[in-house]
Structures are given as structure tokens and as C-alpha cells.
Symmetry: C2
Subunit: 216 residues, 2 copies
């Protein structure tokens, strides 16, 4: 049965091992666990030190793997950074997807997606520094992250229009607007200061998305 | 007479010369023109090369001023970068303010502000690279730029609620949501690709801000 909402798989899962450099995908569960450990360690290394100060040896030390294991899966520091951006993009998508699917109306879905996103950011504050640094270190990854995220939002808005939950004529502009809102709310209330609950923020935004801001 | 909408001056104007390092503010019109030329040249230098590759000599060459003139106004490359972020923040504010003030309803004001912002970005695409790089080069400037922009939006939303144009209860969350929308729409349709007019984008967003997205 096709999933009703937000269920379209777009690109590789964060868990399928395709993050490795070309020809280096792990073939065993153990290999996939090692790859996962390297990516998680890379998130901490680059999140703390940034790309230029971060090092492969810092990553392998944090991951508790030998330097040779790193090169089993990745060609270079650039390659693991590129893989990390794609992996984090996938992790956000996978973390938010169940809440999007479970909602019974697209406004509720957007609400739940934002709530889950802010909660995720609080547990993974490094995601901002890493994706933002991609603009300079690997512009193509940066672009890819936002282009695919916006396209995913556009697709789910169009489907909700078709189901009659949202009005007609929703476009890429709406998708970019919603993505921008979510990214900045995640920065402010996820990374900078946790002075409001994700629930309260999501409620506020859902009300705005539902009825707008004009006085009635 | 107090201005009706969006007229609150917040911080220094982009044109008052206060961009110079402490104790180095120009005292003559000629000095202010030189300072302006240095800031404009710095925008091009850092916009093209980034902070690390950009140089003071590159800035003075582009500005057509002597190296000594640079040090008349700035202490260092860090100082001119910091001043540039603040100056660009002020330029955006000053460019958008007249459109905000001229509108006869806050939805129309937000619409006009976004239209002007996208048009401004198309003429100053380097603003994204510079402000985004500030996150790494000078985090305090980065934070300051978004915190003051959000506060300015929050203030104008609250005033519009009071005038009865927008509903009550608008908060910092709404301000960050609107700022995020605008920043990402500027990135997509100002920097990446100019495949929609600023007018059309602003119309779409104004409709969303006015009535929301739910089917009626």
C-alpha cells in the first residue's frame, strides 16, 4: 500500500552504507557498523573543529577504528565530509518522516515535522555548523541538501493540495518558504537557546500555516 | 511625527561612518567617501575570494586607495570584515525600509519588503557568502545580524497587531519564521537562479501570510 503522506523515498537511506566512496561500500553488517561509527565520529570532529582543523586521525580516534579502516570506506577528508553532509540530510529526513506520515492532515504533518526537527537539532547541534560550512567546503553538497529538501516539501504540499487538505496552486516558492522557516527556527530554538518547547514552536507555526496572520 | 510602520531606527546607519574601527571614524565627507569605497571593495574582495583568501591589498587595489588609507579607518582584515557584515546588514535594512513604510497594511508591507529584498540580493549576491562566512570568521557578527533583524521584524509585527492589521499574539517565533522564509527565498531566487520575478514571489508569500495554506 502506498504511504499516504510524506512517504516518498528520495535518495539513499542514511543506513544503507552508500555513504562510502565509490566502490568502497561495505558488504557486511560489521562493515556497515564501522562506516556508521566513522560518520558519527566525523560529525563530532567537524562539528567541534570545523572542516579545516578537523582531521582523519581525529575521526578514527573518536570512532575507535584504525586508520586503514577509514581508507577502506573513504578516499579522503573531503570524501568523508561530503558523505557526512549527505548522511545528515538523510538523518533529518528519516527522523522527521514518521511524524509526517502519522498526521491526519497536512497542517498537522508540517506541525509534527517541525517539532521533530527542532528536537533532532537539539540532539545534533553540530548539523548546522556542518551543513553551513558545506557552502564553502563543498558547495555542491550544500546545494544538493537544500534542493532535495525543498523538492520533498514541494511534493508533499502538492499531494496535500490534491487530497483537498491544502489550497491549490502551492509551488516551489511555498516549499522554500517552509524550509526557510524551519531552518531558522531550528537555529534559534534548537542551536542557540532552548527557551521554548518544540511543541509550542510547532503549534505557533501550524496556526500561521493554517490561517495566516491577518486579523479576521 | 513618528513614522507609522517599520520606521524605528535600530543601530547605526550604513552611511554614518561608524563602520570604522574604534577611534577611527572619518571626520570629513571625503573620509566618509573613502571609507565607503573600502567597504564596497571589501564586499567584492571577500565575496569573490572568501575571508581567508581575501586580502587587505586586494581591497585597497579594488578601492583605488593607498594602504595607509585602509589603516586610517581599520585595524585589521578581521576589523574590516566585521564592519562589512554590519554594513551589509544595515544596507539591507535601509534598502527595504521605505517599501515597508509606504505600505498601507502590514501584509502589504511584508510583501513589499520581500520584493525589495530579493531585488537587492540580485544586485548584491555576495551578501550571502559574506554573512554565511561570518558564522565561521566572526560568529558574534553573524549572531548579531540575525538577532537584530528578527527583533526588527518582531517589533513591526507587534505594532501591526496593535493597529488591528494582524492578529494578536504574534511573537519572536513569527519573526524568525518570516526572516527564515525571506532568507531562503533570497538564496533560491536571488542568488541561485532568477527564474521568477521578485513581484511574483512576494505575491505568493503575501497570500500565504495573509490567509495561510489550508483549504477553505
Amino acid at each position: 500500500m502506498p504511504k499516504r503522506r510524506g512517504g516518498a523515498a528520495t535518495g539513499a537511506s542514511a543506513e544503507d552504507g552508500s555513504a562510502a566512496s565509490s566502490g568502497k561500500a561495505p558488504r557486511t553488517d560489521r562493515g556497515r557498523r564501522t562506516l556508521r561509527a566513522i560518520l558519527d565520529a566525523a560529525a563530532i570532529e567537524f562539528g567541534e573543529k570545523g572542516f579545516h582543523e578537523g582531521s582523519i586521525s581525529g575521526i578514527t580516534r573518536r570512532a575507535g577504528v584504525a586508520l586503514g579502516s577509514f581508507y577502506t570506506y573513504f578516499d579522503s577528508k573531503d570524501a568523508v565530509f561530503r558523505a557526512l553532509v549527505r548522511d545528515m540530510s538523510g538523518q533529518v529526513r528519516d527522523h522527521v518522516a514518521p511524524a509526517l506520515r502519522a498526521a491526519d492532515h497536512q497542517i498537522a504533518a508540517e506541525r509534527a515535522g517541525l517539532e521533530q526537527f527542532i528536537a533532532f537539532v537539539r540532539q545534533h547541534k553540530e548539523i548546522y555548523r556542518i551543513i553551513d560550512e558545506a557552502e564553502f567546503v563543498d558547495p555542491e553538497s550544500f546545494r544538493q541538501h537544500y534542493a532535495t529538501t525543498a523538492e520533498r516539501i514541494r511534493t508533499r504540499l502538492a499531494a496535500a493540495s490534491q487530497r483537498g487538505e491544502l489550497r491549490e496552486g502551492l509551488s516551489e516558492v511555498h516549499a522554500w518558504a517552509i524550509m526557510g522557516m524551519n531552518v531558522f527556527l531550528g537555529l534559534r530554538y534548537g542551536v542557540w537557546q532552548e527557551d521554548k518547547t518544540p511543541e509550542a514552536i510547532a503549534d505557533t507555526v501550524a496556526e500561521m500555516l493554517k490561517d495566516g496572520l491577518a486579523r479576521r
